[in-house]
Every structure is written in C-alpha cells, then in structure tokens.
Symmetry: C2
Subunit: 135 residues, 2 copies
DNA sequence: TTAGATGCAAATATTTTGCAGCAAT
DNA sequence: ATTGCTGCAAAATATTTGCATCTAA
C-alpha cells in the first residue's frame, strides 16, 4: 500500500505524495511527465502545484520508487519502479513506448565495461523503431 | 576540407560555420556543448552569438555532419560524425566519455526490434560506469 | 509543537525565434 | 542584387528555488 511505501522512504505521508503515487500506480507501467501528472490532478479538481510535483518526483527517484528517463523531446518522464529491470523501445511514428529485456545485452554491457577497467553502475538503452511495413 | 563539407551539405560557407566545424575537428572525437564552443570562440576573440552556434549545430546535425547526444545533465553535446558508429560509456566520477562498439549488441538490438514487429532506425546506448577499485 | 511540506512567484538553465542589418554567391 | 546568414534581444520550455504558510507526526 502507498502509505507504507512512503514511510519506508522516510517521507511524510501527505496528500500530494499519495495522489502522485496513486496516479503512477494506476498508470501501470506507463510513463508520465511532470506535466502529465499535473494535468491529471487538475482534471480531478486537485490543486497541487507543478513545483511540488517536480519535488515529489525527485524524492521518489532518490527513494528508488520511480525511474526517470530522458527520451528525446524535452520533458523527462517517470515510471513506477516495479523491480524488474527493462529497457525501452520507442515507436518514432506513434510515440508508443514498449518495454523489453535482454539478458544477453545486459551481460555484454558488463563485459564491455569490465574490459575497459570499469564497473557498470547504470545504463540507458533506447531503441527508436518504426513499424514493419505490412505486405 | 571544411569548405567542401559545407557546400556538400548545401550550406553557405560562412565564417561562423567554418570556425565551429574546425573546433569540432580539432577536438578529434571529443564532445562539445553549444556553450563549450561559444567559450572557445570567445577565447579566440571571435564574436559569434550563442544563437548562431545552436542554429549551426542543428543544421550540421540535419546534414549528418555531427551527432547530438543527450547524456545526463542538461546540456546536449555534439561530436563530429566520423562515420564509424559507436556507443558511449560515461565515467560517473570524472565525466570522461569513452567510445566503444559491439557488433554483438548491435545485432541483438535489430533482433529484438524485429521480434516485436519493428525496424530499428536508431538507438541510444550509454553505460554509466565507475573505475574499478585498485587492489 | 515542530520539522518538514506545500503553493506561489520568481529565478535558472537551455534552446528557439523574430527581425533588422550583413555577407556570400 | 538576392538569398540566405548573423547578432541581438526577447520568447519559449523545462525545471529549480526562496519564502511565508500550512500540516503531518
């Protein structure tokens, strides 16, 4: 439950934080920009400032509750971290985001970092794709 | 020579474009933000507006002369496109950027896109790494 | 009660654009 | 001579911050 997540993160259980978290949960893996969330809250009559949303998302990221991505196109987007690591594929025509995982690529990444004398801490892999022509 | 590159791209051979191109060439694969270039030009007494630098870099990107990257941390960076595709590794402690290539990862990316019914158009892969502890 | 959170407005940071004058062809 | 380029200032976009006020614990 949300309350527990917040407490575990050492954050006070406030109205804005609950609402933002529940939007992310309802999105079920979808990606939201700060503005997306702001607009959703406006729709449901809630008056939460955009600044608060940025602050809360930053805290959530630090607490490991959400992941932040910088795809092309200005705004950063956030998704709930549901534990299973994955990478993203973005359909350049529709903007649709598809998640995928590849053990193989993960392994190769570690190997490459290692070969250069480094330890892999994080990575960002985004495939920009176009739907195959039907025929 | 620079003049040829510019003409081939259908761009007039102007002083700002020549200077920006030569800075990128002198950098030999290094990555520059628009500001980096702006400051370098100021150092050599050249009065080229920041807006012009952004415009020129955008044109260069469209012409395929440079590649643009959005690593973490605000500013986009540009590097001369020397033809050989590569990905990047960023040392999170020093900010150093190391280039690498992996046939294997390239192949897997195509395979994954294909398996999902897409054609891979582009991709962005950045490894964030930390130097191995000496011992 | 009090440390921490929020809203608002103002500040930053990065990049883009309008426009009048300037330069390359 | 024309068409395209540049500088400058202003605008646009995305995000952060100061501060007075409010609220969860």
């Amino acid at each position: 439950m949300e309350t527990t997540d917040l407490r575990r993160a050492g954050l006070k259980v406030t109205h804005p934080r609950m609402r933002i978290l529940s939007i992310l949960e309802a999105g079920d893996g979808k990606h939201f920009s700060a503005e997306d969330i702001y607009r959703k809250l406006l729709e449901s009559e809630e008056d939460i400032g955009l600044a608060t949303i940025y602050r809360v998302l930053t805290q959530f990221e630090a607490a490991g509750l959400v992941l932040k991505h910088n795809f092309e196109g200005g705004q950063a987007v956030y998704e709930l971290d549901r534990g299973k690591h994955h990478d993203h594929m973005v359909d350049i025509e529709t903007g649709k985001v598809i998640e995928f995982t590849s053990e193989e690529i993960e392994r190769l990444q570690h190997e490459i970092a290692d070969r250069h004398g480094y330890v892999l801490e994080e990575h960002s892999l985004v495939l920009y794709v176009r739907a195959k022509k039907k025929r």
